[in-house]
Each structure stands twice: as C-alpha cells, then as structure tokens.
C-alpha cells in the first residue's frame, strides 16, 4: 500500500474531500478521526496489504504519516 493509496483510503474513511490530506495533518485535528475510523483503517490496511495496524501502536501516533510509517516494511 503506497502513500497515495493510504491517504485516499483515509480520506474516504474520515469523509474528507479527495486530495485534501497530505499526511502532515495531526490526528487530533483530523475531522471524524475516532474509534470507528481507526477500525475502518485497520480493516482497509489488512485487506489491501500484508501489514497489520495495532490500536496500541496507533495510539502513539501524532500525525497521519506516523500511522503510514507503521505499515512500512522494517
């Protein structure tokens, strides 16, 4: 799952206009970022890649890109 695909999936989940998220946004200021959005993102990542997102690791993230980095191969 590349950066662009990740951002577009996230936009769909939080109901943000296409192309409006670039990754630098803080999760705190991301409209509609809640527990349901977290679950949706976990599901999308599991469906479209080999990576798995853990709620505990997501809880330590500040920005959108912090989450994206969690699904990158080590």
């Amino acid at each position: 799952m590349d950066h662009s695909e990740f951002l577009r999936a996230l936009e769909e989940i939080v109901e943000a206009p296409a192309g409006s998220i670039n990754g630098s946004e803080t999760l705190e200021n991301l409209g509609n970022w809640d527990s349901v959005a977290m679950m949706s993102l976990m599901g999308v990542v599991a469906e479209r890649s080999e990576a798995r997102l853990s709620p505990r690791r997501m809880a330590g993230c500040t920005t959108v890109d912090d989450i994206f980095h969690l699904i990158q191969p080590a």
Binding site: E28, N32, D34, V36, M38, M39, S40, M42, E47, P55
Partner: protein, 339 residues
Amino acid sequence: MNARIRAIRYALPAKVLTTEELAAEFPKWSVAKIDEKTGIRQRHVAAPDECASDLGVAAASALFESGVCGPRSIDYLLFCTQSPDYFLPTTACLLQDRLGLPTSAGALDFNLGCSGYVYGLGLAEGLLATGQASSLLLITADTYSKFIHPRDRSVRTIFGDAAAATWLTAASDEEPSLGPFVYGTDGRGGPNLIVPTGGMRNPRTAETSVETTDQSGNVRSADNIFMNGPEVFEFTMDAVPGMIRELMKKASLSWEDLDLVIFHQANLYMLKSLRQSLRIPEEKFYISLSRCGNTVSSTIPIALYEAVCEGRVREGSRILIAGFGVGYSLGATIVRWRA
C-alpha cells in the same frame, strides 16, 4: 445420547431506538454512516423496570405458547446473562418459579456475553448426553442498555436488548446434532469491554459516577459500559479465523459441506471483515442485524430462528455458529438442524 435443538423463540422490548433518532442526537454521524458501519437500522431498549428475566420470560412464553413444549416438561434451565436481576439469588431460580417449571428441575445462571450461546449449547450437550437432563431450556437475555451512557455513541449505536429461548432434548442421533465444539479464552482483553464498577472490586460511589469525555467525544463514567472498539476488532480478527479453521479441521468439513454460517452479529463491519478473511462464500454467510442490532448472547439464536423462518435453514441443514467478544471469550460449533 446427545442433544438436539428442537425450537427457538425470541423476545424484544417494545421500545425502539432508530438510527434516525441516533443521527439526530449525534450530528457528526449521518444515518448513512451508521448504516454502513453497523448495518443496524433499529435497536430495542428495555423499559426502566424491564430486566433480563422479564425478557427471558417473554421468550420462553413464546416458546410454550407455540405448543412445541410446555413448562412442566423442562427438567433443566440454563440462563445466560451479564445483567442479572440481583447478585443473589440466581435469576434462573426466580425464572423456575415465574415460568412454572417443576421444582425438580435444575437451574443455573452463567455469565458470558457474545460467546454465551455456544457455551450454553456445549453445557446442554453435556447435561443431555450424560442423562442429567432430558428436556432443557437455554435462555440468553441481556439489557446492556442499562449500562450505556446516552451520550456514548460507540456503544449506543450497536447494542440492543433481547432474549432468546432454545429448547433442547436428549436424542440418539447417529450423527450428533451439536458439535464438535471449539473454545477460547483470553482474559487479557477484560479491560477492553467492561463495566468497571458495581461489583465487589469497585463498588459504585459518587466518584465513580463522574462523567468524562473521550477523544472521540463519547461521554461515560466508570459506572457505564466501556468498549475499546479497535482493540476488540483486533482480537476478533486475530482469534476468530484460527478458531474457525480449527473447528473445520476437527469436524472434517469444508465450506461446501456447510449450508449456512452464523457468526455472532457484532456489527456489519466486523462481520464483513471476518467473511473476507476466512473467504466464506457470501451466499452462505448470514447477516441479521438491521432489526435489533447486537443483542450479545442472543444474536445467534435470533439469527438461527430467522434463517429457519426464511427457509435458509431446513431439516438436515448443517450450520456453523461462532460467538466471540467480551472476556475475551470465544466458542464455535456445528449445528445439524433436526428440529
């Protein structure tokens, strides 16, 4: 000897909470979004003076009124709830009296949530197969709404109150009607779906009733139910596929051998994710959420009853059922329908 399910009925409280009403209360969530994520159009909510036992009586009465069996024929009652009328006495004892079951009947409560129906069938199989009982009533009933803070949309959109009554008898079927069974438990997940107070560990006080707002804007106190949705989702996606594969192996079955798959109706998003993960054929995967939501231990018997009414379960149908959630606790089995 072994156990056979003979009939199921269920009961819902009269009060209905629609998705439209919830969307009006939580403007950030549209009807479409609640629908898409939960698959639930309405939930039934118990009245202030309506308890799990009352719903259980309604479900069992529907069973008796259908004429398939009568209260005097029951010699064992299993009652599954997490919202009992009292700490003591045992709600099943009170139900013996209210339902008019013989005083010679055995009766017990067991405290499980979403896995409760499978565990109840497992207990019933043991009691009926060993001759300890010959005609058993399994009632699942919960009123989670009494634990829910009205401004906590994370749980209010999902859970509904209900009860289901399942009548089982001893049988001598060559191919057992229930089993094999697979179980699982991981108590590390306890804090992720919990009512923290009200038991002996943390009695309710003025302090425990203080409300807080979480990052998603949901309001609750320690006296209310708390669900860490993402953690429960992760557990489910990790644990359930393995349990299902183990059951299929134990039963020497493949998807082709099954007529229907009924999972605990947690929410639509979780069900879809599990179906995709396990590659279960869509036409064999039963979803029955829209009318009453996640009714905890009653979702599986309600879905099974509905599937029978719709003709999707017929005489001889082989159905895989699986429950998973609070505890964490999980269980799965195969039902051969011979009602």
